[in-house]
Amino acid sequence: MDTILVRYGEIGNKGNNRGQFERLLQRQVQERLSELPSVRVERLSGRMVITLSDADGEHFSRALDRLQTLFGVSSLSTAQSTSLELEDLYRAAIQYVEWHWGADIRRFKVEVRRANKQFPLDSSALARELGAILLRHFERLSVDVHRPDAILNVEIRERRAFLYHQTLAGAGGLPVGMSGHAALLLSGGIDSPVAGWQALRRGLLIHAVHFHSQPFTSDRALDKVLRLSSRLSDYGAPHELWSISVTDIQSAIRKSCPSMLHTILLRRMMFRVATSLADRQQWLALVTGDSLGQVASQTLEALHVLDTATDLPVLRPLVTMDKLDIIRIAEQLHTYPISILPYEDCCTLFAPKSPRTRPQRHEVRAAEQHLDVDGLVAAALATVKLYRDGAECALD
């Protein structure tokens, strides 16, 4: 094998933007493979062809690992390339079967895709020819077009042909960045990293924003969120975290507002702070891990009251998902073991004993009359710290 074929189903359908999307994906493929030596990435209509100068296969498996998590890639195959000379092609097919098919493969078929219409044989003629050659060469093989053990795929392109028999699923979705920038409200729980992953999959470039209440929450809780954002960076998110203190906001709410509304009031304030930050950074949406009805603050009434605190679209990828399904994805993303680390905060000091599960807009607005909303938002924004690659760095 000397080639990886990368397919990108969904963005292949995007009409006018297609060229732009392909360039974005190509750049991301190149970035993902930048650590590997002598990688060439070419675009051939509807495919990307990656050539690796790697005889021992070590770089191949690393490249496959890295490309399988890249959004926008629908599937991948490792392939052998050959020239378009018929003799070369036949020889390559025999060699391919000899090297890559085990003795357990007995029934086969050949499928040819002829993108190069100049090629002298048409698809079915070439398939028949190759099938006959393989039958002659390998006694154990027989053709079975309905239930083959393996299919030898042959793609005839402009300058080369590719042979492969296995296809790995890609991560699907759209290349990160294609859909614009958004803030991900990352809490440290199980849900928000999964929401972030789903947003990334739809091509959103997400910026993780975390609210803390130090000293009522610990450095380790922040560290946990940094680790989560690092995990999300494996899927194309920037490895960054915007951390913001809401201690003063909690204190003000506690002092002036009815205790049963504390949770909704705090979340509205968080939305306002995140919206201000998003405006400043030109991000166009908020992404949250809310799942309808999961906890008291996620009833439809609560979400309704919440969303009136921002004029940005609030994207909730998990809104209709069951907790068990969310956990299953979190396990696949390796965020689950981090999310369940026991650095729980001491915000219970602020937490109401019986929060209002179905808050009304008018009562929330009345309660907010007692708060200096703009002043608190500005003060919270002044506490912003930006972490890049796990270390605090200067704000732009």
């Binding site: 009522f216 450095d219 506690r254 729980e344 001491c346 219970t348 602020f350």
Partner: protein
């Protein structure tokens, strides 16, 4: 910002003597088991360090085995007792406030069919000799008691216990000396226990190295099988650098432990304790104690919040308890303070300050002033002032 590290019972900063000795030893890369000159040089470093730890311990006979941690040393003793008395079983005595590295192995023995008696302590963490003695039986095979409690600083009567056992019992005595060894003014080891656990990083050595002292006739069995290091009892290439650092730290700590700063240290300790009480904290006040460990609780403020609030001001204290009620396994600190009869709220609020002779009266004043300010800030923030 002025920083004050008051978590010396968790670990002590590396002493510069230990650092220098380790840096010098980095060039002695030989394997102590190798026959050539390089091997011999490394072996000499290990043996010199062993002699330093032996001198610091001051026992007249017996062997010091290097291990990887105090936890390993403690576990090793229980494992040896398990293997020695596996058939006949027997009776084991531990205190209610032992470190988990003793408490958990004791429970493992219980599950294996041994009878375990837990000796309680009073509300200040004191362990009465009479109670420990009363727990002894004809079939007692092991008594394991710490010398200084890591949370309250209570000093247990291990010397008297050791003498009593020698005269009246055949039980083995294990003393977990992790918080006592070279950490107390005028510290002397108890007379000839069967086992004594010490750890390097508590006295300014590196982490990842500790030791177990055992009498010559002890029933220790190999912890790991292999190349036969540590007289065949703990195979595995020696942690030469760590051991060298341990030796250097023990050499310095021994001098300090012999110095006479006892009276002064207790004055500082008293100032800290009365200052905390004046702020409204409940403080454990053991009769006999290390002057370097204080546990206090300000009911209503979870210990974790106190720890972070102080850390923001550069003061580093610790807590074994978390404020979360969702934690499944009750933490160590809960067990110890619960054994002392402290209320749930006090347990949740308990924090520990641990220091050494370098702490001055001015430092105490600074800590108390910061604490006063932090308490009032927290109460104001959560709307309770």
């Amino acid at each position: 910002m002025k920083e004050m590290y008051l978590d010396m019972a968790a670990t002590a900063p590396l002493r510069c003597e230990a650092r220098e000795a380790m840096i010098a030893a980095m060039d002695e890369y030989g394997n102590p088991s190798s026959l050539h000159t390089k091997g011999l040089a490394a072996e000499r470093l290990v043996e010199e360090a062993r002699r330093e730890v032996e001198r610091a311990l001051g026992f007249s006979s017996g062997v010091v085995y290097f291990t990887g941690s105090g936890t390993e040393s403690n576990n090793w003793v229980f494992r040896a007792v398990f293997e020695r008395f596996f058939k006949s079983k027997g009776h084991v005595v531990v205190s209610a406030v032992e470190h988990p590295a003793v408490w958990e192995p004791a429970h493992a023995l219980k599950e294996a069919g041994f009878d375990v008696t837990v000796v309680g302590v009073n509300a200040d963490g004191d362990l009465a000799l009479e109670q420990a003695v009363a727990a002894l039986r004809q079939d007692t095979v092991l008594v394991s008691v710490m010398e200084v409690n890591n949370e309250t600083g209570a000093l247990f009567p291990v010397e008297a216990l050791s003498r009593h056992l020698r005269q009246h019992s055949r039980a083995l005595l294990h003393v977990d000396g992790t918080q006592a060894f070279c950490k107390m003014p005028s510290w002397r080891p108890p007379s000839e226990p069967d086992f004594y656990t010490v750890s390097a990083h508590k006295i300014g050595g590196p982490k990842g190295v500790a030791a177990l002292y055992a009498r010559k006739s002890s029933p220790l069995k190999p912890m790991f099988l292999g190349g036969g290091q540590e007289q065949g009892l703990r195979s595995g290439t020696e942690n030469v650098l760590g051991i060298v650092g341990f030796g250097a730290a023990a050499k310095i700590a021994r001098t300090y432990a012999n110095s006479n700063c006892l009276a002064e240290s207790f004055v500082i300790h008293d100032a800290m304790v009365s200052g905390l009480e004046a702020l409204g904290c409940r403080v454990a006040r053991p009769m006999s104690k290390s002057p370097y460990i204080v546990t206090a609780a300000y009911p209503g403020i979870p210990a974790e919040v106190m720890v972070h609030a102080l850390a923001e001001q550069g003061i580093y204290v610790s807590t074994g308890s978390a404020c979360s009620s969702r934690r499944k396994k009750r933490s160590t600190s809960h067990r110890v303070l619960a054994a002392m009869g402290w209320s749930d709220e006090e347990q949740q609020s308990a924090f520990r300050l641990s220091f050494d002779a370098a702490l001055s009266e001015q430092d105490v004043t600074f800590v108390l002033a910061t604490l006063r300010e932090r308490i009032s800030w927290i109460l104001k923030t959560i709307g309770r002032s």
